[in-house]
Symmetry: C2
Amino acid sequence: MSDFVIVNEVGPRDGLQSQGKTLSIEERLLMIDALLDSGIRSIEAGSFVSPKAVPQMAGTGELFGLLPMTDAVDYSALVPNLRGYELALAAGVRSVAVVLSATETMNQRNINMSLEQATDVCAALMQRARQDGVQARAYVAVAFECPFEGLTPPPVVEYLSQRMFESGADKVIIADTIGAANPRSVRQVLERLDSAGMARQLSCHFHDTRGMALANVLAALEWGVREFDSSIGGLGGCPFSPGATGNLATEDLVLMLAGMGLRTGIEPLALVDVVKRVQALTGTPLGGHSYRWLERQAGKRQGVSHA
Amino acid sequence: MSDFVIVNEVGPRDGLQSQGKTLSIEERLLMIDALLDSGIRSIEAGSFVSPKAVPQMAGTGELFGLLPMTDAVDYSALVPNLRGYELALAAGVRSVAVVLSATETMNQRNINMSLEQATDVCAALMQRARQDGVQARAYVAVAFECPFEGLTPPPVVEYLSQRMFESGADKVIIADTIGAANPRSVRQVLERLDSAGMARQLSCHFHDTRGMALANVLAALEWGVREFDSSIGGLGGCPFSPGATGNLATEDLVLMLAGMGLRTGIEPLALVDVVKRVQALTGTPLGGHSYRWLERQAGKRQGVSHA
């Protein structure tokens, strides 16, 4: 099995969209520059949602026109619907992601659609992206538990994932939107998806609300998953899901993977500087569980290089 | 494989001994009362070390004479040497633990003995405890990495564990004293101990310094380990090991085990009240990664019961 793991940084989208402070396009570019400096090469850079609903993501089209290193970096953008998709396409986006919540109530409350309608909309977007030669990614959100309906049945996650793949998705991201997964429920879902031949085309998106994100990553690694979302310093959460706080911090993920001998292309100690720069830009105190330890190590190394 | 996991609470010893504030015997008993209220039934209650070296543990003999529910709770005490062991025996202690560091330098620096001398001392104490009908536990400390010597070779951990079992130890606790283990290194050590037939008699003691404690617990569970140390609210660390901060928080451990369908006899939400009571006693801000979420859930439940 591959020893390379893709770390998809979602701070510039999932992280920023829940912040009180709205960053300028220039500040968002500075954040992305900081991320690139650590070796990160997969970034969810923004979303094409209504700037009225999510002002933090206004100007994502302009941002995409200014992104550095576009040949070396897999930049993606979230698109909520066909209009968003067309804006993304016009802005030169080459990788789009849709979010499909796995329960009826979550769809009704968030986007005023039934689960069936939402599934059809996302399937159509995946088909369209495939036709246009755009990389197509589909999040299956609240894949473990829904704040309104409770535990999500794994067969539903399987069905929705299958639909997305059949419609043209290159990747399905199993998302624990409210941080309710545990290693057993991760195994249950992934075992089912693996039987259906999907596990190795999956990514996982875990929140650290209950402190289990890294344990869940470990469970997913064991089922062959080799891509994970994370957010620098743990920035963000989902503003629409009650109780969803704390994205898995990129530095925690990278440090564990490095310790386990898995390659990511990202230097753990370099993430200390990234956290500091993003903290300065957002004005939010940041740092995952490993941050204080990493900071101490980075300080020591600097001490040596100055000696 | 058993679905019951023993959670051994080390807050009253490992936690308190690193605190600036020294608790009175009465306060230490109040802390233990709080722990018992949540269902915890295995507690490292104190140590018989020199009160000059560790004033926080002074009066442990007196404490043992006052412990509640002694028939239902597995109380243990750390003993550094024969004198400590005899004091423990005189105080009615029925379960003792020794700490054997796995490297030469750690032993030299901490107790001014060679690794061989320290091993002999611990082996003799295990033998003596076995003769006296006292439960005998041996920590193998810095089992993954030593702050002075770097990575600890797994064969050394195997040898020391074997020596302790042969000398009469009922249980060996593999301790990641500086929080340097990762799921791969945990597997490497446990695979080796499992081949030698020891894995199911082991307990593990993880620190959360790098945020990986729960992932390490998961790796150990997979190798059949069914006992773990943890400290309420993450209280403590090791004052003698540079960089050792952050015990695995009991509430994080219990919440993950409960989510995975493993039984501990401990009610996760009840730990919120325990954290609050121990916080008031120690004057230290406490709480593991899941604490804020648990606190919110406990608040909701209380809201319902008052409605």
